[in-house]
Assembly symmetry: C2
Homo-oligomer: 347 residues x 2
C-alpha cells in the first residue's frame, strides 16, 4: 500500500476508510472522476460501489448496499461524483441517510457542507457518525516557522493550473513504492485528499497560514523517507499564485518536477496570459523554493501529451529532454523516460 | 482630505466616520499605536478621545463622552488601543455600551469579534448599531480575473515584515496629495483600514481569493488617478510570502517602492533567515509583478533609519542611492531625497 493516511501530520484530516463509492444517479462518466480516481489510485481503499436506480456509470467494483459494504469492512460512504453547482440533490438524501444508519460516515468534496442538510446533520448527530467535507481545512493550522524539517520532499509545480500535478505526484509516489522507497503521497486538493485518505485543501487556507499548512502537511520524517506533495496552481497564474507560493515555501522541497502542457498557449481562465516556458518555470520555482531549501533542484519535467499520438509525443519529449538536459516524461504514457525521471528524483 | 473611503471598491469595508478614539484604561503609550496613527494620518476623521479613569495615555485631542462626541458629529467609537491577547476586557464594556446608546457604531481591530460579547451583540441588535471587526475580510470577495484595470497603482513591498510599508504608503499618498495628484491610500491591514476608513485585511483572506481581493481593493479608476497600496509581508518571508504574492499580482502596480531596514540582518520571527538585498527584492518583485503589469518599475527605496542619527542616515541613503541609481529616502525623515522619490513615482 503506497498511499498512507497522514494521521501522523497532526491535525490534517484523516479519513475513515475503506470507502463505499457513491455514484448517485449519474449517467455522465465525466462527473464520476473522483470515483474513477479512487479506483485507479487507491483500490485497496475501495470496498464497493453504490448507485441509485437510473445510474449508468460504473467503476467495475462490486455493487453493495451500505449495510453490505459495512459488513465487508467499509467505514465511510464517499461521494464519488460531482454535480454542477456542488449542491447535494434531494434525491440522494435517502441513500446517504441509509449509509449513516448502516454505520458508515460520509466523505464529501462538494462545495455545500453535508451538515447544511438538516436530515443528514440530525441523523449523524443521533447516531454519532461523522460528516466530513474535504474542501474545508482543519481548524488548528498554525502560522509557519520556516524551520527545516527532516526527511526528503518532492513537490510537483506547474506552468499552469490543471495540467497534471496531482497525477504526476501520484505516479511518482507509485514509482517510488515500486523501487521500495519509503514514501507518502501528500494531498493538497479534494480528490487527492480522498485518494490519500487525508491532506489539506491548500486553496481554502487563509493566506497568512498557507506556508504553515504546508509545513503541517509534511512533518519531520526519517532521513530517507520521501513525501511526494501534490502541487497547486502556478507561480505564474495571475489568480492562484498565492496558493503556489505558500505551498512551495512551506513544503521545502528537495526536488521539484515541473508539469507542463506543451499544446496549451494561454493560462487557464485568464485570456491574454501566455504560459511561461518550462525554463522560466524551473528558474522561478528554484529561486523561490531555494529560500526555504537552498538544496532544491529540478529533477525533470512531466508533459501532458494527451493531445498527441504516441510517436509525436515520444519524439517531442526526447527533443525537449535533450534541449533541457533533464528527463521529460508523460506520467500517463510512462515508459523508459518516466523511469529516468524517477531515477533522477532519487539520485 | 487626501485619504478617502473606499466605498467605491464594491464590497470592501467602508467604515462609519468620524471617530471617537477610545483609549481604555491604557497607561502604556505603545499599546495606543492605533490611536496615534489615526491622529497623525487621519486627523479629519478624529472628533475626540475618550478614556476610562486611570488612563494616562492621551492623543491630545479633546476629551468627550460618547454623547458629546455624537453631538459633535462622530459616527463610531474606534478602539484605539491593543491589549495583550486581543481580547475585550470586561471593564471596557460599560463604556462601549454607552457609545452604542449614544448613537455610535463600534470599530475594532481586536482579534476577538465584538459580537462575541453578548451584551454588545444584544445592545447593537436592539439599537440597530453596527459592530465592525476590521480584522475580518468582507464575505463577497470574488476569484480574481487578471484583467488589466484603468488608472495608476503604486505598491509598497518589503525585504521583510514590519519595516515601514504602511508608513511609506501613507507618506507617499500625502506627498501625492501635496502635489495635487488625485490619489487614494488603499489599506490592507487593520490599522491602515481604520486610517483609510476602509480596505481589506489581506492576511485574513483565503489564499485562492488573495489576488481577487487585491483586484477588488483597487478598482478601475480615472487614467491619471493613483491608488497607493499598503504592502504586506515580503516575497522572501518563509511564512507570509503567499500574502505578498497575491497582493502583488492582484494590485498590478505600475510602480513599486522597496521598503528596507538596513540594520536588520534576520527576517522577523524566523531565526536563521537572512534578509535579501535590496537588489534581490527589486528584481524578484519586478519579475513577479511583471506578470500582471509588464510596465511595472521600481520608483525607489524607502529606508527605515530610526536606529541611526541624522548624519549617518543621510550619508547611508546618499551612498545607496548612488549605488542603486534610484532615490533612497526615509519617509519619516523626509527631506529632498523623499521629494525625489515622490517625483520619480510620478515621472
Amino acid at each position: 500500500m503506497f498511499l498512507q493516511t497522514i494521521s501522523d501530520a497532526a491535525g490534517a484530516t484523516a479519513l475513515p476508510q475503506p470507502y463505499l463509492l457513491f455514484l448517485g444517479d449519474t449517467v455522465e462518466p465525466g462527473f464520476a472522476k473522483t470515483a474513477f480516481g479512487l479506483r485507479d489510485w487507491a483500490p485497496e481503499k475501495c470496498t464497493a460501489e453504490y448507485a441509485l436506480p437510473g445510474a449508468t456509470v460504473t467503476t467495475g467494483l462490486p455493487a453493495m448496499s451500505p449495510a453490505q459494504a459495512h459488513q465487508a469492512g467499509a467505514r465511510a460512504l464517499l461521494i464519488g461524483v460531482a454535480n454542477s453547482g456542488g449542491v447535494l440533490p434531494d434525491n440522494w438524501l435517502p441513500a446517504l441517510v441509509e449509509a449513516l444508519e448502516a454505520g458508515l460516515d460520509i466523505v464529501s468534496g462538494l462545495h455545500m457542507r453535508l451538515a447544511e442538510s438538516p436530515i443528514l446533520a440530525d441523523t449523524a448527530a443521533r447516531l454519532g457518525r461523522r460528516l466530513i467535507d474535504v474542501r474545508h481545512p482543519p481548524h488548528d493550522i498554525k502560522i509557519g516557522t520556516g524551520r527545516k524539517r527532516s526527511g526528503k520532499r518532492l513537490l510537483t509545480v506547474g506552468t499552469d493550473c490543471a495540467l497534471g500535478k496531482k497525477y504526476t505526484a501520484l505516479a511518482v509516489a507509485r514509482g517510488f513504492a515500486d523501487r521500495g522507497v519509503d514514501s507518502d503521497f501528500r494531498a493538497t486538493g479534494q480528490t487527492g485528499i480522498m485518494i490519500a485518505g487525508g491532506g489539506i485543501p491548500m486553496d481554502a487556507v487563509v493566506s497568512d497560514f498557507e506556508a504553515g499548512a504546508a509545513e503541517m502537511l509534511s512533518p519531520d520524517s526519517a532521513p530517507d523517507h520521501w513525501d511526494v506533495i501534490e502541487g497547486q496552481g502556478s507561480l505564474f497564474h495571475p489568480v492562484y499564485a498565492a496558493v503556489s507560493m505558500g505551498l512551495l515555501h512551506g513544503s521545502q522541497p528537495d526536488c521539484i518536477i515541473v508539469c507542463h502542457h506543451p499544446g496549451r498557449t494561454e493560462m487557464l481562465g485568464t485570456p491574454g496570459y501566455a504560459l511561461p516556458s518550462v525554463e522560466e518555470a524551473i528558474d522561478l520555482n528554484l529561486r523561490v523554493g531555494g529560500r526555504t531549501n537552498p538544496a532544491i533542484r529540478c529533477a525533470g519535467i512531466a508533459f501532458n501529451t494527451a493531445y498527441l499520438d504516441e510517436g509525436e509525443a515520444v519524439a517531442l519529449m526526447a527533443e525537449e529532454s535533450r534541449r533541457l538536459g533533464l528527463p521529460v516524461a508523460d506520467p500517463i504514457r510512462r515508459g523508459a523516460a518516466f523511469d529516468q525521471l524517477i531515477d533522477n528524483c532519487l539520485s
